[in-house]
């Protein structure tokens, strides 16, 4: 495949490509079909697309009713609104009755960029993780997104799927041995001194950070944790045991998301130093996506620095 595509773009294409194979698939949006990229599905399958207007709470409830009647709805909006504004509807109308609804949060994290703090959702991973029985999936590139959408169509239960706004490099299609399975992380690159457990677009940055560290003689393992819940415990615990230190990396708050999940696991079952790389406990701000990512330290260089810190802690 190679090249670049935003995971939201890959999501939109996957919906269209899977529509014939999965006739129960229906898509809901809340007046953001251009942005979430559900527009092509809407154009190709207008009778299977329900625009709910700017009313995300209601959209989630309608999706619950559609699922209760046997359909496979994907309810889409910005992460801020599908996971944020409609949190309680997701919890009580989808999570509690364990209905087969996929909640889609586009423009997750801070790389929304110019729109600024009101649209930069850094809390979605932590919020969705809190709901019992909820899958939380955050693919790292367009290829993984395509595979994730089909896997979610074959999974009967509630799930949250995060999409990103910026175009990013596609690499998993050419990765030897790569295969996608919900709930199972993927080994992206081997290493012995430290493990970077990354999710979403931070997986690409983790690969770049690994190169920086390699030049310094530090061997970093890179894991792609596309499914934050349920967490691939074996993969993480093996990494903790074998490399002795972990750095988690996510385009989300360092509170309660992937970092929280890994710390909860490792501290109980194989205590090693864990450093959480992500957005510190703060709101975002306007700027281009790259400027914002750099402002908040979501760069390969900062991730490499966190890895050095982790290696240092392990020696103490």
């Amino acid at each position: 495949m190679a090249g670049k595509i935003a995971t939201r773009g890959a999501f939109g294409k996957a919906l269209v490509n899977l529509a014939e194979k999965y006739p129960e698939l229906v898509v809901l949006d809340a007046d953001l079909a251009q942005a979430t990229q559900t527009k092509d599905f809407a154009a190709a399958y207008p009778e299977r697309f329900f625009d709910c207007g700017i009313a995300e709470s209601n959209m989630v409830g309608i999706a619950a009713g559609l699922a209760a009647a046997g359909l496979k709805p994907f309810a889409c909006s910005f992460a801020m609104f599908s996971a944020g504004r409609a949190y309680e509807q997701v919890r009580n109308s989808v999570g509690y009755p364990h209905l087969n609804v996929k909640i889609v949060g586009s423009h997750g994290g801070i790389s929304v960029g110019e729109d600024g703090a009101t649209h930069q959702c850094t809390e979605d991973l932590a919020l969705m993780r809190q709901i019992p029985g909820m899958l939380v999936v955050n693919p790292c590139d367009g290829n993984e997104m395509r595979l994730a959408v089909e896997a979610l169509l074959n999974y009967n239960g509630p799930a949250y799927l995060r999409l990103s706004r910026p175009a990013t490099e596609i690499f998993t299609d050419e990765l030897p041995g790569y295969r996608f399975e919900l709930g199972k992380g993927a080994l992206i690159a081997g290493g012995d001194d430290v493990t970077i457990a990354a999710t979403g677009m931070m997986v690409s940055m983790a690969r770049a950070a690994r190169e920086i560290l390699a030049a310094e003689g530090i061997s970093a393992r890179v894991l792609d944790i596309h499914t934050i819940k349920p967490l691939d415990e074996d993969l993480i615990l093996n990494a903790a045991f074998e490399t002795g230190a972990i750095v988690t990396s996510e385009e989300a708050s360092v509170l309660g998301g992937l970092g929280g999940a890994v710390v909860e696991l490792v501290s109980a079952k194989c205590p090693v130093p864990v450093i959480r790389h992500g957005v510190e406990d703060t709101f975002g701000r306007s700027g281009t996506a790259n400027a914002v990512l750099e402002y908040y330290g979501l760069t390969p260089e900062m991730l490499a620095a966190k890895c050095r810190e982790a290696v240092h802690l392990k020696k103490q």
Binding site: G53, L71, P73
Partner: protein, 281 residues
């Protein structure tokens, strides 16, 4: 089952009321006031209007029901038990730790419950989704919901009203139980919602105003809803909170409080007297 009408519906509704208040009394917690106000509508739905099969609660072609005001679960459970979805004796375990009858309706554990509800304002959206699914799949089942007049203070209800009209869901019928009271007092004081009928009409629903304790009016409204094409129907029903239990009627204090032994004895006597009177007529 043969459909019930008139006096037989009234007797069944009062039996449901008695079972609901009994269950709340045993549990020492629950919501009697609103359960009693909507008991007649629920009885009309399950013993006359809806196409359901208690021996096959998941039957794909069944009519759906969503109790959007989920705290009135005791009335729904009582009606479902009387209709044969589960043993009437189960009601004695309402709200107890190992029972399937939790404080608010749980579709995963209670046969006959089509949607889990309890957080106010959310049930109507799910009912819209069910009605939309029927239209989408070319199925003929109808979807019913019961909302509270306090509940419609939630903004999501109005989002759902708009959506149901957009998709012309004439297979959807929602009762609004206007008992005029909520936890903190009269709805007119807490957050005035009147004129409910004109507001819902302005949201492009077909609106029918009735006395929610008159079965002839309830059945006639349901028939009118079935014949209404191109828009959903709201049955705005004036009711008495605590209906049928003398000391609970029109008292906000009985929204979410269980009767003690002495009060339950009085409630039982009130309801049994009404059943007896109906049976003698």
């Amino acid at each position: 089952m043969e459909k019930l009408y008139g006096k037989d519906l009234a007797i069944m509704a009062n039996r449901a009321r008695l079972l609901a208040v009994d269950a709340i009394h045993r549990a020492s917690s629950g919501h009697p006031g609103g359960s009693l106000s909507c008991a007649d509508a629920l009885t009309a739905l399950y013993f006359n209007e809806m196409n359901v099969d208690p021996t096959n609660p998941g039957w794909d072609a069944r009519d759906r029901f969503v109790l959007s005001k989920g705290h009135c679960a005791p009335a729904l459970y009582a009606v479902l038990a009387l209709r044969g979805y589960f043993p009437v004796e189960d009601l004695q375990q309402l709200r107890s730790i190992h029972a399937h009858l939790s404080g608010h309706p749980d579709m995963r554990h209670v046969p006959g419950v089509d949607m889990s509800t309890g957080s106010l304002g959310q049930g109507l959206s799910a009912a819209v989704g069910m009605a939309l699914a029927a239209k989408h799949q070319g199925k003929t089942f109808r979807t019913y919901a019961v909302l509270g007049d306090g509940e419609i203070e939630e903004g999501q209800i109005w989002e759902a009203f708009m959506a149901a009209a957009k998709w012309k869901l004439d297979n959807l019928c929602a009762f609004i139980d206007v008992n005029g009271l909520q936890i903190d007092g009269a709805t007119a004081d807490v957050m005035p919602s009147e004129p409910i009928d004109r507001k819902v009409e302005a949201f492009n629903w077909h609106v029918i105003k009735i006395d929610g304790h008159d079965f002839a009016q309830i059945l006639s409204a349901l028939a009118e809803a079935r014949q209404t094409k191109g828009q959903p129907t709201a049955i705005v029903m004036k009711t008495v909170k605590g209906k049928g239990v003398s000391f609970m009627e029109n008292q906000a204090g009985w929204h979410g409080k269980a009767p003690n032994d002495e009060q339950f004895a009085q409630a039982k006597a009130d309801l049994e007297a009404q059943i007896k009177k109906l049976e003698e007529n």
